[in-house]
């Protein structure tokens, strides 16, 4: 009885939260096209979110490429299908692993950062101070970060993908002495246009999710330093969940369209 009650109240608060997030997102779309634009702050955020995540995304992608190829090589060898390696790696990395891993890494690094930064600004009244000084804090803080995350994630994904493929190539080069041109030629001949477009489009959505959830959590942070930690934490958890859901929807839609 109490468990049911507890669960239903949890479900209710989940929908409450989701509703508030939607209102927050609507507000974003209302403000994003309205002048004045905060270009210099947008550039700064692109740098913070994009350039500063490059190393992490690159290294992770590279290692995933290496490991993925090393792990799947024996199995392919058993079936005498090692020549399929480039196409298999290409398809799985570009379609799925690259976008997903990049988005999850950014949810951890960028989402929590945004949640904590805006949360502490809220708690120490810096957001109120901005409001008083005639700058719309929603525009200055939220819009710039969400736009930057949306624009930067596709770029980060491309970098991650490229390094993962390069890692995979290094393994093949080590074992079979294939040339870079040949390897990448094989990778891209296996890919269709239908692979590239949807997997790029979904990274925009991943970026948007990371930005909007991080901002939502930080901007509406409760009082106190506990609130800031919670904002950062929840930003990561919610964003990761949302990324999986979005990915599922993306795969479903692609499946329908390219049948």
């Amino acid at each position: 009885m109490t468990i049911a009650k507890n669960n239903s109240s949890r479900l209710l608060s989940f929908f409450d939260e989701f509703g508030k997030l939607s209102i927050f997102a609507v507000r974003f779309f209302k403000e994003v096209f309205k002048p004045p634009y905060e270009f210099s702050e947008l550039l700064r955020q692109c740098y913070n979110i994009g350039i500063k995540s490059l190393l992490l995304v690159g290294v992770t992608g590279f290692i995933i490429g290496l490991v993925f190829t090393l792990q799947s090589r024996p199995t392919l060898q058993e079936f005498g299908a090692v020549s399929w390696m480039p196409s298999m790696v290409g398809i799985s990395i570009i379609r799925e692993i690259g976008p997903l891993v990049t988005a999850l890494i950014c949810a951890g690094r960028v989402g929590s950062g945004i949640g904590a930064e805006l949360g502490s600004m809220r708690v120490t009244e810096q957001i109120d101070a901005m409001d008083v000084s005639g700058t719309n804090p929603f525009k200055y803080l939220v819009v710039t970060r969400v736009v930057a995350a949306t624009l930067m994630l596709p770029i980060l994904t491309i970098v991650g993908d490229a390094l993962a493929l390069y890692g995979s190539y290094l393994v093949e080069f080590n074992k079979d002495d294939v040339s870079l041109q040949l390897y990448f030629g094989e990778v891209f001949s296996a890919l269709e246009f239908g692979d590239l477009i949807p997997s790029t489009i979904k990274t925009f959505f991943f970026g948007f999710a990371i930005g909007i959830v991080g901002c939502f959590k930080g901007y509406n942070c409760d009082k106190g330093t506990v609130g800031v930690g919670l904002a950062a934490n929840e930003a990561v958890v919610y964003t990761s969940m949302l990324i999986f859901i979005l990915d599922f929807i993306a795969v479903l839609l692609t499946d329908i369209f390219y049948e």
Binding site: P36, E117, S120, M121, T124, E125, Q126, D128, A129, M130, D131, V132, S133, G134, T135
Partner: protein
């Protein structure tokens, strides 16, 4: 005493709050609070921690919505204002936040520059903000800190920089939320002197929220005690300190 009364009566009212009610759920914070601030006056508001002082001055600047009551600032009813009009009015009001609220990610110069970015209606387009920044820093005696980051400043310096940031728009009204709390007695005294000199130089009217008796004695022209969500009693520091009401006496122990 009577001459003091006459003086205030002929003065213009710059801020007037009437019957303000604010509650958070069952927590009725303000229950019909009223206040009048006269031109050129330093009005001290005192009250127990958590009685709603910060909430009350946040209403004045449109950071907090009210349940009912009217707030009039220099002849404008703020409830009916559009966002732009509110922003224009805000250029006339300086607000010193309880925790200074300097922007952590910006240097002192950028902190002071920030209010100048949008509030250009008041001064026209600005091309030399540096001169204004330096002037504001000079008035708080911290020109040397211009390129430091907030994390490199002490609590007292932060308070001064925050004060410089509120001064930069040359406001007619300044709202101080506990300007001396958390500072040592000597630094507190410096801040009080600074507030006095600001009032004399810029002819501002101020509402000062404080727990600090020395600060209240030094700066107040008039005091209000906020008790149980209303303006319980109003008078000069001497009048209140001689009061025999136990609730008032409790403050002056």
């Amino acid at each position: 005493m009577s001459s003091n009364k006459e003086l205030t009566q002929e003065k213009k009212i710059v801020v007037s709050i009437q019957d303000l009610f604010i509650s958070f759920g069952d927590n009725h914070v303000l229950n019909g609070f009223s206040l009048e601030l006269f031109e050129g006056e330093n009005l001290v508001v005192m009250g127990k921690s958590g009685c709603g002082k910060s909430i009350m001055i946040k209403c004045l600047i449109g950071l907090q919505s009210v349940d009912s009551g009217s707030i009039n600032i220099m002849g404008t009813e703020i409830a009916n204002l559009e966002k732009e009009q509110l922003d224009d009015l805000r250029t006339e009001i300086g607000f010193l936040f309880q925790g200074s609220a300097l922007y952590d990610s910006m240097s002192v110069r950028e902190n002071l520059d920030f209010p100048l970015r949008r509030h250009t209606n008041k001064f026209g387009v600005l091309n030399n903000t540096d001169a204004m920044i330096i002037e504001a820093l000079r008035s708080v005696g911290l020109e040397s800190a211009i390129d430091l980051m907030p994390s490199e400043l002490s609590g007292g310096m932060k308070r001064r920089i925050a004060l410089a940031r509120t001064l930069i728009l040359k406001p007619k009204i300044i709202l101080y939320d506990e300007p001396t709390t958390g500072l040592d007695p000597i630094t507190s005294k410096e801040i009080v002197l600074l507030m006095k000199s600001i009032q004399e130089t810029y002819k501002t009217s101020s509402i000062i929220i404080t727990h600090d008796m020395d600060c209240a004695r030094a700066i107040s022209n008039r005091m209000i005690l906020l008790i149980d969500g209303i303006a319980y009693v109003t008078g000069t520091f001497e009048e209140l300190s001689k009061s025999i009401d136990p609730k008032v006496k409790a403050f002056f122990k």
